[in-house]
Symmetry: D3
Subunit: 116 residues, 6 copies
Amino acid sequence: MADKSETARRFIETRARLNSNVDKANNFLVKRFYNIDHNTYLEGIVPAKYKELMGLVASTCLRCDDCIYYHIIQSYRLGVTRVEQEEAINVALVVGGSIVIPHMRRAYELLTELYG
Amino acid sequence: MADKSETARRFIETRARLNSNVDKANNFLVKRFYNIDHNTYLEGIVPAKYKELMGLVASTCLRCDDCIYYHIIQSYRLGVTRVEQEEAINVALVVGGSIVIPHMRRAYELLTELYG
Amino acid sequence: MADKSETARRFIETRARLNSNVDKANNFLVKRFYNIDHNTYLEGIVPAKYKELMGLVASTCLRCDDCIYYHIIQSYRLGVTRVEQEEAINVALVVGGSIVIPHMRRAYELLTELYG
Amino acid sequence: MADKSETARRFIETRARLNSNVDKANNFLVKRFYNIDHNTYLEGIVPAKYKELMGLVASTCLRCDDCIYYHIIQSYRLGVTRVEQEEAINVALVVGGSIVIPHMRRAYELLTELYG
Amino acid sequence: MADKSETARRFIETRARLNSNVDKANNFLVKRFYNIDHNTYLEGIVPAKYKELMGLVASTCLRCDDCIYYHIIQSYRLGVTRVEQEEAINVALVVGGSIVIPHMRRAYELLTELYG
Amino acid sequence: MADKSETARRFIETRARLNSNVDKANNFLVKRFYNIDHNTYLEGIVPAKYKELMGLVASTCLRCDDCIYYHIIQSYRLGVTRVEQEEAINVALVVGGSIVIPHMRRAYELLTELYG
């Protein structure tokens, strides 16, 4: 994927570099939180791909670019199509309003890089 | 449904009463916005039930009780199970943090009334 | 005005009762903040009525019912018309999204009581 | 404490009633989250009373009445004085702005009931 | 204007580049939303220039740099003076608190470039 | 400190440069606000170091990188240890949820640079 999208490549690299600082700190509560966070998106009665899209909706209406990139990439890895990603972003746009648009623009750039 | 849940009955009644004021005002932009809002949750490539659950996730992490009640009720009407609703709320809880908990508590009260 | 609108009467009464606790506490920083807050809405190059409407926009997109009621009432006192109030609320609706709607509904109830 | 403050009594009672629904649901992720939440405020290098006040600051600037009541009550139980509580609320007021004021008013009502 | 302000030039260029991705996607709901968004700021009973300043207030208290830049530039194009822009930002600062300050600093940089 | 941390050096420099624009504008309300902001963190019944950590909690759960950097640096100057900073950030993480994590990662980078 990193070969398709420069945005994804840079995001993944920076995230890994910054996470290594967090890992070294070895903070007990942070590790517990990361663990819960990981479990939240596992396959359940709701399929994992819809959970990732729910994460995308939450990230978009709360307006966090890093979180948006993360869930777009995870959804992409799970085989989610571009249209599905757009429909999820639409929910966030309508719930969250025009303040979401600058983040949506950057999300669409990543979508275009990933899906061509 | 209103016979099962006092919370749902009161919410639906108050919402209808307040919406009648909005309807009477006949504000063009508001009507356009309501129209877009309605279209956002229609069956698409993403099934309507998952769109409602995405609306629930957005409403929960943005912490709006009325919106949470609305999407729980809509999801219920579309046949979403209680476990599916809980899994969606979990995404919102983890993304949005403990500040979400008081709203989650009220959501669970409605879930208990609806699903017994 | 309180004779026209039950919502306004109750809001003003509760606000006064709660503010008396704050006043008794005599907290220096709080009094300074209240002072700045008061000065922000005074007639300037921007007329006071548009500042109140700006306060209404901010309160609506940040979704605080008490603040919305306050700025609707202040705008009403300054002779702002209902249509002007609705146009300000529209800005907040579009910027803030559908999560604003439940607050808009309650705002329209107050507008209807005040303007008939 | 419940004998001193009607606000505290009602809050604690409602919270317990609603939490019983959550407990019955026995949702694994929610229980894990509650567990982390509990551990966050335990005595550490930062004394428990300052952690509760930090929780109060977070709750106040994120504007959640239930969370504000909870941390005021917990701080009170740990021997925090009224002035300390007010200083914490001041941080939240200045960081979060006038949108915080309606919540601050309700916080001061509880402070007045608890500390006389 | 782009000749006066490097910040404005870069913002407008990046926005246009990113918007072209969104346009190519041709998403129906996004286009509808853009259309409503456009109509919100048209001359009404409230003059267009005050609507742009309301958009600036909303963008500033919701803390979105791109939206702040956009509404400062639109206001500038409509003949709004620097003092009017500052008075609008003051409303957002007082409502939104010190968390707004970093965005206000960047807004003042753009104001200085535009108005000299 | 600037010799230890490149992140701190760049932040302090940019902040000073941008603040000079604000200072030149000489806006009365902004100056009053800055004054209140300054007074909020002075030694009180709550020690200054805990007030800075409260500022860090507020900044982290409201997700403002500049504000986070500022309060980490101020806390560092007042002799706060790294573990105390991490415990404060934990409160913000649990209250604010996983949406806080990207900001926490950047905070940990600064902590690592400052404390080695």
